[in-house]
Symmetry: C2
Subunit: 160 residues, 2 copies
């Protein structure tokens, strides 16, 4: 059975919250987020390939990737890591290059539940309208499918 | 006469907006923000000295400074530049090290009004409570006094 992905976008606020549990210890889930060779194997929906331009996981490091669909259409994203606490916490900026100048600030917390773990994402946008546009843009299915791909990946990944 | 500083913190939102006009072209105001030798001469209240630990004004660059009062008490701040459009726009993350883990995302837009200019700051916090704490913390007088110090500085600064 798949663990549910809970996405909350309270009307009238610029916040978006995502909570997801994994049947794997947090060290492995953190590694799936931060190891460049792993993140491209699960983040986002199955129909999109993912290539990194940068994945420099440290305070002040940059990240960037592009997705490509079967038609060759590309979608680029980029941002900067503000904070990184290994195994526990990441805080980055996030921008979809298709909507330049609309940036969000996203924290990702990894909770230790013993042999299981929980990811909590709290994103804040520059306006309620920006948040609404992101929530309406098919983000939900991509996030949910990505986490299902991570479930599959985690079965073959060791904690570092 | 001093130009007014308008600070807006709409109740129940995590947003803080600051608008200030200057009797100087935007090139000079932008330089006052981005030239490391100038920013320490105006940012913040007169009673605090300011020393930079980093002021790397480029996308992915880091910034940091500490204020020190007459008693030697230090207040540190740091963040990263997500976006920099020279002369026009800066977007950075902002964290007061005295409240670690509470980060805001702040855009600074420089409007060209001919021989005059306007600075528009839009900050968004991770929660309404974080915004309220910042708005209640004496930020207003420090911002207003800082801009008055910039007025004085701009009289002796050339556009680059």
């Amino acid at each position: 059975m798949t663990n549910p992905t809970t996405i909350t976008a309270q009307p009238g606020t610029p916040f978006l919250d995502i909570v997801r549990e994994f049947d794997a210890p947090r060290e492995k889930v953190y590694r799936a987020y931060t190891d460049a060779a792993l993140v491209t194997q699960w983040m986002g929906p199955r129909r999109l390939s993912m290539d990194l331009t940068s994945w420099d996981v440290r305070p002040g490091g940059s990240w960037g990737f592009f997705n490509r669909d079967a038609d060759g259409t590309e979608y680029q994203f980029h941002g900067v890591f503000h904070a990184v606490t290994p195994g526990e916490h990441i805080l980055w900026t996030f921008e979809f290059d298709g909507a330049p100048g609309h940036v969000s600030l996203e924290s990702i917390d990894f909770d230790d539940l013993g042999s299981r773990s929980r990811v909590r994402i709290h994103a804040v946008y520059q306006s309620v309208e920006d948040r609404d546009a992101m929530a309406a843009g098919g983000m939900e299915s991509g996030v949910t499918e990505g986490f299902e791909r991570m479930d599959e990946l985690l079965q073959s990944v060791s904690a570092r």
